[in-house]
Symmetry: C2
Subunit: 296 residues, 2 copies
């Protein structure tokens, strides 16, 4: 199957699973169910769950088994967007062309919808672990990988430093910290959790981790670059917003040429980490192109 | 040992463990570490962890082993207070005589400190499960009990309905829902998680659950009653605030006399659920008095 078709099929599997897992019954608290669903189904590309499932398949485990964890990481990603958009944080009215959660449901409900998604992600994973007790150790280790990456040493930590850096001159180390924690950690955890869940040997885990670190960072710097030289039509959003908001980015600190060079190096290093797997790693190779060599 | 002395000793064990577990190192994100610690050490009575440890001891498991779970439930309780106090929710400037988290650290940081505590609670429990793989099943079941009670079918669900009910006439069913979910669920989960973690047999779990349900609700209605007839000096806070805020309470819907009767009945039912254990249940009997037959 062609890469784009595989991607679409995986997205569909994840969307169906998310719809199945997320609460929707009539209940006194169903406003929070609506608010949770609104943001989960507001057009995400499902990158993290797709990467997790791919790592799971790579280690020869059936991808169906990891669906609660794949959906869990997507819920955690979504909660972080809801809380990031709040007036007390980035104060964004729109995301992917749609009104942000608090603009539709109000600030209080948006805080609770975020809390609800974070907590529900863990409920879902725990329930799956209890349903399959024989794989308790690997599944718990995978869940822990996700939790660490989502927490104060990962995504939340990155957001804290981002929030603290508003209206200040950010240095290179601080920008690296924000990049690595705020987005990188959960990206890497998606792939590692997929491999750990499936009982990958240390060598395989090391290769996939190296791939994830390089492509994850390359993906983020590409985002920053496209905000400068991207085509608004292809991107489907306005460019130049980082400069407008005086946001520190990789190009603003290191220059555009160096950033493009860096992305190319990261891309090559990411592919090098998995090339000895040959055809078996085809999906990850295609994914690297899709994430880094893009114009959108 | 006298009850008050036991209580104090357990509080001390928990406070020391919380201090040991919570991040405090110098790091770029240490402002969130400070904010998390500020609210955790703002004078909580540690009721939930104490009940969890007591249930653990009751089933003859060493209480030391459950400390990561006991501290986890206290972090979850604390995160819920931080988010409840936010301007978009209850908008409180003070809690237990101290400034609320967002008044000290700002709204954005308070959201993140809450997120951080919720996520860190699970990290802590998962790490403990991975360190003791032989008890993976019971420990995961205990963690799931806590997660369910904290989520959209428990605490968050209760807060959603509470938020939705602002400035509306709340009926008896809705008030019961708020009581049961917002406070009751985590109270009951504390005791059940302690018993499940320790491998309690179904009969013991049933008795302790019945105790928890009755005393948990009795504890909450007592809170509502004391806000009407309590002694400000003994309570250490102003009375009459529920009426002032036009907050629906058990007495405002069912009347004071009926509420006092109801508490007495719950108290008796709670004790009846554990009386066949005799002296072994002494701590829970004392705790019932402490929680329900109080003037503070």
């Amino acid at each position: 199957m062609e890469f784009q078709a595989i991607l679409k099929k995986k997205q569909q599997i994840i969307d169906e699973a998310l719809d199945r897992y997320l609460p929707k019954e009539k209940a006194l608290q169903n406003k929070v169910f609506d608010a949770m669903r609104y943001s989960v189904f507001a057009g995400g590309k499902r990158l993290r769950p797709i990467l997790m499932m791919a790592a799971c398949e790579f280690v020869n485990e059936e991808e169906e088994k990891i669906l609660p964890f794949a959906c869990g990481i997507e819920m955690i990603h979504t909660y972080s967007l809801i809380h990031d958009d709040l007036p007390a944080m980035d104060n964004d009215d729109y995301r992917r062309g749609k009104l942000t959660n608090h603009k539709v449901y109000g600030e209080g409900m948006a805080v609770l919808a975020g809390d609800g998604l974070l907590n529900y992600a863990y409920e879902l994973m725990m329930q799956s672990i209890l349903d399959h007790p024989h794989q308790c150790r690997n599944a718990t280790a995978a869940m822990y990988e996700i939790a660490k990456a989502a927490g104060v040493y990962g995504m939340i930590g990155g957001q804290v430093v981002d929030l603290n850096s508003e209206n200040t001159q950010v240095d290179s180390d601080t920008l690296d910290f924000i990049h690595n924690c705020k987005t990188g950690a959960l990206f890497i955890a998606a792939i590692r959790a997929g491999a750990i869940f499936s009982g990958a040997d240390p060598e395989t885990l090391k290769s996939l981790t190296s791939y994830a670190e390089n492509i994850g960072l390359g993906f983020q710097i590409t985002d920053d670059i496209l905000d400068i030289i991207g085509d608004e039509k292809k991107l489907g959003k306005k460019v130049g917003s980082d400069q407008e908001n005086q946001k520190a980015t990789y190009p603003s600190i290191h220059g555009l040429d160096y950033s493009v060079e860096r992305v190319n190096r990261l891309f090559q290093q990411g592919l090098a980490a998995i090339e000895h797997y040959g055809e078996k790693a085809q999906f990850f190779t295609d994914m690297a192109h899709y994430l880094v060599k893009r114009e959108y």
